[in-house]
């Protein structure tokens, strides 16, 4: 399906990709198989795609608007307006902390985020909030003279039907800077990753330069706040890095259309933007396995080299890195022998991490992903089908082997208990909050991968090994706390063998 930039509202992931947030039908291989077939009749996703498990009990998830905050809210010379009651503004706290720490890690000047809540009240729900939106846009301009102003919508403004697009267009003309509406009402998508797409949709429509002057050594890197492992790596190939979206400037975002290629650390995050840049501006997306483990990183570098015509340099780098990491890797493998790991992260990131764990000799017989995209946005260049070379689940299964207990669960802590009990891992790898605290109370240490680049590339294999050794040592803490904590779940639930049982019984 082509990306449609004509409308200001991004199509959500369920419609574009057939995304599901719950599935528990065996192994990774099964999920791969089911992903390629038509729904067998439950009617999920309009009967067109992969079936989804649905239950009555759910714990708090994450919404699209939060992903808008963590991307559009972290652009260094822009302002994000949150058109919402004050509660949505709560997110300013977490994304400020992450932003500041990210800036420090990247050696950029540390500053507070610039996000403004329109602070809507009860009367605005009746009479509309557009006047307040316009006021906040003007405040943003008067205070910061930003190079762009983004507007994130909310459940409340979506329901009352504020015409955010017209207000944005009016102020864009008045202020002579891009004013970009991002439609990200939480209730409009069951998975938060639609929020990434909402931001990227707005960037493609209103920020990216329409008449690019090509910079043939520039590579877009779609990432979050991770440490800069890309600059030294790409320098080996004679390429320069353009980090987007977090902590970039508006100009760095505008020049995305001028790059020679687009890469990322995770297809979930980069899918929409990378596909859009290719479709609209001819910037090739590197369609390959993700850069995790030797096989993935080799294939990824070779595809990047092919597209940027740097094959010789890439081969030198690949050989050099293999040799460099080999001795420590051999030691780490000895130290980690017999350990069992469990991965609980976003979809394609998990596929990458599992490959790295297996390079380290760690056994992985269980994993959950918070959602599953059966396909990504990019098209196969030779046909009208999704691009198979980006199938990260397929690559994982085929290259590093099946994962017998593979589930999709939208960060649901109550299910995580039973899922961990199935496989009793020595440790877990996790991104996003909420699951590591439960694992801890079960005596299992977690490596929370705040720095998303930690396990990436050849050095990432070593990094992850070292981190696992560190957190295995923490086990003393977790065993002690487990012995002194009562979980908030009833014994009946803790005794359940099937964490998805409620989805299967009809209440």
């Amino acid at each position: 399906m082509k990306i449609n930039l004509d409308t200001p509202v991004v199509e959500n992931r369920e419609q574009r990709l057939g995304t599901i947030i719950a599935w528990d039908n065996g192994s990774a291989t099964n999920l791969l198989k089911e992903s390629s077939t038509i729904c067998s009749g439950c009617g999920a996703n309009n009967g067109e795609r992969l079936c989804e498990t649905k239950g009555t009990f759910t714990q708090g998830s994450v919404c699209s608007e939060m992903m808008v905050e963590c991307q559009a809210g972290n652009i260094r010379d822009a302002v994000l307006i949150q058109h919402s009651p004050i509660g949505c503004g709560a997110g300013q706290v977490i994304y400020n902390s992450i932003y500041r720490n990210g800036l420090a890690m990247r050696k950029l000047p540390v500053q507070n985020i610039r996000m403004i809540s329109t602070n809507l009240q009860e009367s605005d729900m009746v009479f509309g909030g557009i006047a307040k939106l316009e006021q906040s846009i003007r405040d943003a301009w008067d205070r910061h003279k930003p190079n762009a102003i983004f507007i994130g919508t909310s459940c409340a403004t979506g329901i009352i039907g504020d015409d955010v697009d017209s207000a944005a267009a009016k102020l864009e003309e008045e202020l002579k800077i891009p004013v970009i509406p991002l439609h990200c009402e939480g209730f409009k998508s069951k998975h938060w990753s639609t929020g990434f797409d909402a931001v990227q949709h707005g960037l493609l429509r209103q920020i990216v330069r329409k008449n690019p002057k090509k910079q043939k050594d520039l590579v877009n890197v779609i990432n979050l706040w991770g440490t800069d492992v890309f600059t030294p790596m790409l320098a080996e190939l004679g390429l320069r890095v353009n980090f987007v979206v977090d902590m970039a400037t508006v100009d760095e975002l505008a020049q995305m259309s001028e790059a020679a290629a687009t890469i990322g650390f995770c297809h979930t995050l980069s899918s929409y933007l990378a596909a859009g840049l290719e479709q609209e501006f001819g910037v090739p997306e590197i369609k390959s396995p993700q850069p995790y483990g030797f096989d993935g990183t080799d294939a990824w570098l070779r595809e990047l080299a092919r597209v940027t015509h740097t094959e010789e340099k890439a081969e030198v780098y690949i050989a050099k890195e293999h040799a460099r990491v080999a001795p420590r890797l051999a030691e780490l493998k000895k130290l980690l022998k017999g350990k069992k790991g469990y991965v609980a992260t976003g979809s394609s990131y998990a596929h990458g991490l599992i490959s790295v764990l297996r390079e380290l000799g760690v056994e992985v017989n269980g994993s959950i992903v918070f959602h599953h995209d059966p396909i990504y946005d990019s098209q196969d260049p030779f046909s009208d089908t999704p691009d198979a070379s980006k199938n990260s689940l397929g690559f994982m299964v085929n290259n590093s082997g099946d994962v017998p207990n593979f589930s999709v669960s939208n960060r649901q802590q109550y299910q995580f208990y039973g899922l961990l009990k199935r496989v009793n891992p020595d440790f877990i790898l996790v991104r996003h909050n909420g699951l590591a605290p439960l694992a801890s109370r079960m005596g299992i240490p977690a490596a929370p991968l705040g720095d998303e680049h930690h396990a990436l590339g050849y050095q990432g294999i070593l990094n992850l090994g070292e981190t696992i050794l560190d957190i295995l040592a923490h086990k003393k803490f977790h065993i002690d706390i487990a012995a002194h904590t009562k979980l908030p779940y009833k014994q009946w639930w803790l005794d359940q063998k099937d964490p998805f049982v409620l989805a299967k019984e009809k209440i």
């Binding site: 708090g60 009651p85 706290v93 610039r114 996000m115 405040d139 939480g186 439960l438 908030p488």
Partner: protein, 461 residues
């Protein structure tokens, strides 16, 4: 009075520079739904949220995690059930979805009481949540509901909604005898105040010391719902905050014919704490000798330690702060002002109250600052938008050196800009790890001194 006049002039200039609008940059409170934390702050109580998919997590991560890294406790954080409302609930209503969520929650989660709270979606669509919940109440499920849609107010007003819901729907009617010497305490806002756990522990300790039986109601020192069931039996309510809890106390006065004592300034340090305790002793008619024995013993300990500290305070070579600025909720703002002025002899530079107290309480709060000491009178401003707050702090003349700032993470860069120290004392405190630390009473005051002067001294070299 001369000083106040010149302050007034400065105030006028500052207000000309920044016009107040609806905008809030860098939030200092969250929405009513954030008060779901007042439910999970009661041992054994779990909130059930009927709202969009991000609301519960958003309130938790910001109020309880990146604010002192307090943790969600037994039934908060990622445990909290949520309807994660979708387009379907927006179009067709969410009552059915809430019903099935409550049914399954009761099966899975082990709680003494469930508190249903709602978000913008339910309140805008007009779900009849009261009727949904009352069906469960009729079946004997311990459950109450409060409508806390984000546009209705902030987490302070949400706190009183939730408190009232538990009292009216769970504690219920009572016309039996009162227990002399028992008090219900309504004080700091759980989780929003970064140090609430330690502070409530200290409040309970000193009130017990003077002979009271204390229903502290929130935090690890609370006995949970059994304590809440005992609320109507208490001799009186103590509202220990500038305004939060007054509505609850008024309600309890009407409902259970229970008097209340309002002490607007939370005591910090020997002087203030002893005066506070004597005030309570007097109001409750407690045994004066017994109470005095406790006060004397506590003062002895406090002043022994303060004496040790006085060597440093008297002759530290490299300069100590002389003025201070406070940006924060009225509860800590006035409490700290009182302590810093009267115990340490610091000079107030700027006081900004940030939680948007209801208009009817503002004059009373202003008066507290005007009478901060016999010879010190100062002004307070009310402002919620951090851009405006920072402009006010910048545009104040503090004399020969900048004030030490008591504020939040939002003031970290401002402190660097003004070349001064910052102590993060309120939401959000993203660079503090807080477990059981208290800053109030006798013991908390000493911890606070350690924090202030470790911050000052460690910046020396």
């Amino acid at each position: 009075m001369g000083d106040i006049k010149s302050d007034d002039k400065k105030l006028e200039i500052a207000q000309e520079e920044t016009v107040k609008t609806n905008s809030i940059e860098q939030v200092r409170y969250v929405c009513s739904l954030g008060a779901m934390h007042s439910a999970s702050a009661i041992p054994g109580v779990i909130p059930i949220t009927h709202c969009g998919p991000g609301c519960a997590d958003k309130q938790y991560m910001n109020l309880a995690f990146y604010n002192g890294f307090q943790g969600g406790g037994y039934g908060g954080g990622s445990v909290v059930p949520s309807t994660n409302s979708s387009e379907k609930e927006v179009i067709f209503g969410g009552a059915e979805r809430l019903t099935e969520l409550i049914e399954s929650t009761v099966k899975i989660l082990d709680a003494d009481l469930f508190v249903v709270v709602t978000g913008c979606i339910s309140d805008l669509v007009g779900d009849d949540v009261e009727s949904v919940v009352s069906d469960f109440q009729k079946q004997g499920v311990p459950i109450v509901v409060a409508e806390t849609g984000g546009f209705r107010g902030n987490n302070f007003t949400g706190h009183e909604l939730i408190t009232k819901a538990i009292i009216d729907q769970y504690v219920g009617e009572y016309d039996g005898l009162k227990e002399k010497g028992t008090v219900n305490v309504w004080s700091l806002l759980p989780y929003h105040n970064t140090f609430w756990r330690g502070d409530l522990t200290e409040i309970k300790r000193i009130l017990q010391g003077i002979g009271l039986k204390v229903n502290i109601l929130f935090g690890h020192e609370s006995e949970g719902v059994s304590e809440w069931k005992n609320i109507p039996k208490a001799q009186f309510n103590l509202v220990l905050s500038p305004w939060l809890g007054l509505q609850t106390a008024e309600h309890l006065k009407n409902k259970y014919d229970q008097p209340y004592l309002h002490v607007p300034i939370i005591p910090i340090g020997g002087m203030e704490t002893s005066a506070f305790l004597r005030n309570v002793v007097d109001f409750a008619g407690l045994d004066v000798d017994k109470a005095e024995a406790f006060i004397q013993a506590e003062e002895k300990i406090y002043y022994n330690y303060l004496g040790d500290f006085s060597d440093f305070y008297a002759e530290y070579w490299w300069g100590l702060p002389a003025k201070f600025a406070i940006i924060g909720d009225s509860a800590y703002n006035i409490a700290l002002t009182k302590f810093l002025v009267n115990q340490l002899g610091l000079v107030p530079g700027k006081q900004i109250v940030t939680e948007n107290p209801p208009e009817q309480y503002r004059d009373a709060i202003r008066k507290l600052y005007q009478n901060v000491a016999q010879d010190v009178s100062t002004e307070v401003e009310f402002e919620e938008d951090s851009y405006t707050i920072h402009e006010k702090i910048r545009n104040t003349d503090y004399g020969h050196k900048p004030p030490i700032i008591f504020g939040t993470t939002w003031e970290r860069d401002l402190a660097k800009e003004l070349k001064t120290a910052i102590v993060e004392v309120g939401f959000p405190a993203s660079y503090e790890v807080v477990i059981s630390r208290a800053y109030i009473g006798y013991r908390g005051a000493l911890t606070l001194l350690e924090k202030i002067y470790t911050t000052t001294v460690s910046a020396s070299a």
